[in-house]
Amino acid sequence: MSMAILALALWLGLWALNVWLATGPLSDRIWARMAVPLLFGITLLVLWEIAVRALAVPLVILPPPSQIGARFGASLPVLWGDFVQTILRGGLTGYAIGCGAAFLTAIAVDRFVFLQRGLLPLASFMAALPIVGTAPILVMWFGFDWQSKAAVVVVMVFFPMLVNTVAGLAETSAMQRDLMRSWGAGYWQGLVKLRLPAAMPFIFNGLKICTTLALIGAIVAEFFGSPTLGLGFRITTSVGQLALDMVWAAILVAALAGTGFYGLVALIERGVTFWHPSQRG
């Protein structure tokens, strides 16, 4: 009980500090901007630690963050290998291929009404080819190594990217299009000079959503067969060994990689779509 009160007090205190940091006089300092999410995260972690200890949650169900941190620190070489295998080889390759293919498809769909009528419904058919179903098949086709993981990622990111790009390409105003017409701009010119720039906010939406999907895809695909490394491999084998600290250390790697990846895309987005009201804020 007293633990609960302590936890609650801690939460309120840190939240208040956060509100002050985020909106107070220091809010535009760079360190304050970094501190806000960190503080929030630390709050969560501390609460987690308190909860696990207070409720005596068995270690094989949920280990406390301190133990996860220790395991993470002690397993860096192993986790690095997993990171390279899953994120760099499987995830990134699949992300690049999948988003690229979806982008080109979106342009084809945009160019030919025929494809728009025929391909879009088919693509949404592909949308929920659930990873559970596709992964075993793709592992069967492309083998155990990262190639099959990349293939799973391709299938996963294709639809979100396609939907966003198609929506983005439709996002021009009538006057903007009329101008292009009045200059006798050809299809490609209209695309490159008008529709693509106008679509960028949507395209980056897709790219951002896909970053996390790519990670999930690469990790989960490893459940269905893998070499003896990779984050997905680590997670499943460690669950089996009840080494929950290792499970969470692997998840930590995924979270760090994912956040970094997302942050990178968001950064590029800021540069590319600086003109959009949502960025001018």
């Binding site: 105003s173 009329d178 200059w183 006798g184 000079k193 720039p197 106008a198 960028m200 003109w275």
Partner: protein, 264 residues
């Protein structure tokens, strides 16, 4: 009321009707519009708000298809003329692309039409000076005042060599002084290049000062109620606006406008 072609006819409209279908019934934007415009003419369109001026310009530029009637531009369909890059169009609202600076907005049609880079830079400079926006080349549209945006959009249409200039209230947001200056510039440019110009305005003096022909329109349905050929000489100093001929034409235009309004 129709105007016999004097020189080579560039634009010819015959019985043009245009009806917009809207959720609560059709809107007759144009009805039985007949008009011939010769090469090198400067034609002003004047008429009450909503009478179809913009719509007519859009029909000429192949942005709207008439429900009935025929339009030909240089003997081709408006759409072919569009493809042949015959038009420089200044829209009623500025319509600048927010992701491009003013300079790059102006150079956009030049890029599209394949002008070489050096030429683009030169022309952008030139037209920016012309509309008195030197020094704003690197700004983004949302960093400009309303009138500045409008001037940028005028500059954009002037930067390339369109045979036909379509200008929809280009000077609406400008003060008298700049407006006078730009009127003079436009006239000079027109005289020098002989571009056929279709110009929508709400200012009677402006229409009379600039035009070789003034088309007065009346609304609902939009049609041409008067076409006035200007007897003013091609050389027009600003103070021509005090001459009796000028005042007389202005009067006729005002009467036409008023008649259009009363009908409603």
């Amino acid at each position: 009321m129709m105007n016999a072609p004097i020189a080579k006819t560039v634009i010819s409209a015959r019985g043009v009707d245009l009806t917009f279908e809207t959720a609560d019934g059709p809107v007759h934007a144009l009805k039985g519009v007949d008009l011939d415009i010769s090469k090198g003419e400067f034609v002003s369109f004047i008429g009450p708000s909503g009478c179809g001026k913009t719509t007519f310009l859009r029909v000429v530029a192949a942005l709207e298809t008439p429900t009935a009637g025929e339009v030909s531009v240089n003997g081709m369909s408006p759409d072919d003329a569009r493809r042949a890059r015959a038009y420089g169009y200044v829209f009623q609202a500025a319509g600048l692309y927010p992701w491009r600076t003013i300079g790059r907005n102006i150079s956009l049609p030049l890029e599209i039409m394949g002008y070489p880079k050096a030429e683009r830079t030169r022309r952008v400079r030139e037209v920016l000076e012309l509309v008195e926006l030197g020094g704003f080349e690197k700004k983004y549209p949302w960093q400009l005042s309303g009138g500045m945006q409008q001037r940028a959009s005028i500059a954009r249409a002037l930067a390339f060599d369109a045979e036909i200039l379509l200008m929809d209230e280009p000077f609406g947001a400008l003060d008298e002084i700049v407006r006078d200056r730009l009127n003079e510039e436009l006239l000079r440019l027109w005289a020098a290049t002989g571009k056929t110009t279709l110009f929508v305005t709400h200012s009677i003096p402006e229409a009379v000062y600039l035009s070789t022909k003034i088309v007065v329109m009346s609304p609902r349905p939009g049609r041409i109620s008067d076409v006035i050929d200007s007897p003013l000489p091609p050389e027009r100093p600003l103070d021509i606006r005090d001459s009796p001929e000028f005042i007389e034409i202005a009067h006729r235009v005002r009467e036409g406008l008023r008649a259009g309004h009363e009908e409603v």
